[in-house]
């Protein structure tokens, strides 16, 4: 079936993986020097969305909590960064983590009561958050600038680096996105990630094995909030302007769409999904301005039918056509068998986990796949 067969954890496997990541890194760093400012601006936007979608992906894909409020946290992060820059002389690299801290705390404050709710009701309460944020922004004029918005002093490129402003914004966003991606991947492989998957797949069983369910969920809400805060701050830097119109209810839907299109239960999927939700409406608008939403909506539905495991699942299937990675045959007994999750993490370039849906049995989800 596959062209090549290699052993997981072997030298060839590790070299291949390192090579692919190196190639991806070179391409990503090279892109802004070979494309026009509007493409760079769009990709910067994609990255700000991707960071927020990653946080939501942790919440939805790993813990099975459907949240429609990510857009609200994104807005709060954007405004926190923008108003810190506008009202104080804070350097922008400091405003970014501060914005994340603000949304982390708000996420925690929101998460502690919200973890009592499940599934649909949680979705509705978070929907309330997404609806409420617009009017509150408009009213809190001294901080947010009201309907007229706030303009943001965009990060200037350092003098020693000969790059244009749009290239610098792209590179800055790239570095931040890469850091957040690594943190998320690390998180899902660590004890918190295992606790989250345990909660998703069986809350009571997780509790029995010593996972503090409500504390873990509340913490995850805060982490997802912090991700949205970072994404929002990147958005504010990239756009150079924040106004209430940028943070509609549709934005929260967009993040959820990005997570599902990218693939549940994968971190890299959020990035792929963000490419989809930014570029598909744009291309659709290029085909026919009035039909933008028709094409976008129809594509979104089609993706659910045609690739239920998302873009990340599609990539994984393609890779399997080329390269088959097999587990090493246990020739001699290993001194200490690694935990199952550590093994899983090794043989895939992306952290994989069964993209089982929230609160349903995984078999039903499997039945969905073609």
């Amino acid at each position: 079936m596959s062209l090549v067969r290699i052993t997981a954890g072997s030298r060839v496997h590790l070299a291949l993986r390192a090579g692919i990541w190196l190639l991806v890194a070179i391409i990503l760093i090279g892109i802004p020097f070979d494309s026009n400012p509007s493409v760079n601006g769009n990709l910067t936007l994609v990255m700000s969305y991707a960071v927020a979608a990653m946080g939501l992906g942790l919440l939805v894909g790993y813990a099975g909590q459907i949240s429609l409020g990510q857009g609200a946290f994104f807005a709060i992060g954007a405004y926190a960064a923008a108003s810190m820059l506008a009202k104080t002389g804070l350097p922008y690299l400091l405003a970014l983590p501060l914005a994340a801290a603000v949304t982390f705390l708000i996420g925690l404050a929101f998460g502690i009561p919200a973890v009592r709710l499940r599934g649909l009701y949680l979705a509705l309460v978070t929907l309330a958050l997404a609806v409420a944020v617009g009017p509150v922004i408009k009213r809190a004029e001294p901080i947010t600038g009201g309907v007229s918005g706030l303009s943001v002093r965009q990060p200037p490129a350092p003098g020693w680096l000969a790059v244009a402003p749009d290239q610098w914004l792209y590179l800055l966003s790239l570095v931040v996105t890469a850091i957040m991606l690594l943190l998320a991947a690390n998180l899902t492989r660590g004890s918190l990630g295992r606790a989250l998957v345990a909660i998703r797949d069986g809350e009571r069983a997780a509790r029995t094995s010593g996972v503090h369910v409500s504390r873990t969920k509340a913490l995850l809400f805060a982490v997802a909030g912090a991700y949205a805060g970072v994404g929002g701050a990147l958005f504010a830097y990239g756009q150079g302007f924040v106004a209430p119109e940028s943070f509609t209810l549709l934005l929260s839907f967009t993040f959820l769409g990005a997570v599902v299109v990218g693939g549940l239960g994968t971190v890299i999927g959020s990035v792929l999904g963000s490419l989809f939700v930014v570029f598909v409406p744009q291309y659709a608008g290029g085909v026919n301005q009035a039909l933008t939403g028709v094409v976008y909506g129809a594509t979104l539905i089609a993706v659910v039918y045609l690739m239920p495991s998302g873009a990340a699942g599609l990539l994984r299937r393609l890779r399997r056509l080329l390269i088959d990675i097999v587990e090493p045959t246990p020739a001699r007994p290993e001194p200490s068998p690694p935990p199952p999750d550590a093994q899983r993490g090794v043989h895939d370039a992306v952290p994989t986990s069964d993209p089982a849906p929230a609160g349903s049995d995984p078999a039903a989800a499997r039945g969905l796949r073609p």
Binding site: L120, L124, A128, P135, L264, V294, G297, A364
Partner: protein, 293 residues
């Protein structure tokens, strides 16, 4: 006091419109287990159909009936074509399909009828009815009457007719229903058709008050969500009572609390559902979720 009563009745009238859409959401949630985020947009589209018919010279009453019939058929088609293939699977897939439908229908309506605001003819005569010292708008009273009739009809359908019984059975336990010979798929289609019809009813009732454009139902949908969540998402009575509570508190807060005014009054119902759901996570009338260990 008179003013207070007027505000309350207007609030109940608004709440009745939310209730019609909330009933649609509850109907679908009970049968399919999914929240149809596109419910409001489907209603908006049907309202445009009514407007287009009336604009083409069809008498208003006939235009509304035509739009309701269209909504019924469209709801059944949506269930059969879009929802059936992913039914019973990943709930998130269903959420995304309805979100996709939301975007698609909204844009399609704008493409067909344009994005300008249109005036929708009034379904009820203007003016007020004088009851003692209180003057209540005839439109408000009419809307409340329509909702009460609808609730009565739904109650009759679900408790007194074989088809209502079959629909309840199909919703409660599809596999058992299938075993006793109920065409479950057709019942689900019927449920979606009825939900779509209820939504369209909310649309034509509200269109005169809010004016008609592609964003007609987005705000209403949020209030209907709040009403349904407040009442408990699996309880039709809860949806009506919850929506009334939302409508009345919204009207009272907007009128009597100055700091809230008209721009922040959306926060009042949202605050209420937040508090209620924290105390009673399954809503006022909903049945608590029971899970097997």
């Amino acid at each position: 006091m008179e003013r207070f009563l007027q505000v309350v009745v207007d609030g109940i009238a608004d709440g009745s419109i939310y209730a019609a859409l909330a009933l649609a959401l509850v109907l679908i949630f009970r049968s399919t287990g999914v929240v149809n985020f596109a419910q409001g947009e489907m209603a908006m589209f049907s309202t445009f159909v009514a407007w287009a018919l009336a604009d083409a010279g069809v008498p208003l009453g006939l235009a509304v009936v035509g739009a309701l019939a269209f909504a019924f058929a469209a709801g059944m088609v949506v269930e059969r074509v879009l929802i059936r293939p992913v039914e019973g699977g990943n709930p998130l897939s269903l959420v995304i399909v309805t979100l996709g439908l939301f975007i698609l229908v909204n844009s399609a309506a704008g493409w067909i009828w344009g994005f300008n605001i249109k005036e929708f003819p009034a379904l009820f005569p203007g003016g007020v009815a004088q009851i003692g010292n209180v003057s209540l708008s005839i439109e408000s009273l009419g809307i409340i009457a329509v909702l009460l009739v609808v609730v009565g009809l739904l109650w009759l359908l679900f408790t007194k007719t074989p088809i209502g019984l079959a629909m309840r059975a199909a919703a409660q336990s599809p596999s058992s229903a299938r075993l006793v010979g109920i065409p479950v798929g057709r019942m689900l289609m019927l449920g979606w058709g009825m939900a779509s019809l209820l939504g369209a009813l909310a649309g034509v009732l509200v269109a005169h008050r809010l004016f008609l454009d592609t964003n007609l139902m987005a705000g209403v949908l949020v209030y209907s969500f709040a009403g349904a969540a407040l009442g408990g998402f699996d309880s039709p009575i809860g949806a009506v009572v919850g929506s009334w509570i939302i409508g009345v508190t919204e009207a009272l807060a907007g009128t009597y609390i100055n700091a809230i005014g008209s721009d922040l009054k959306v926060l009042v119902p949202l605050g209420i559902i937040f508090v209620v759901l924290l105390v009673r996570p399954s809503g006022l009338f909903g049945s608590p979720e029971v899970t097997r260990a």
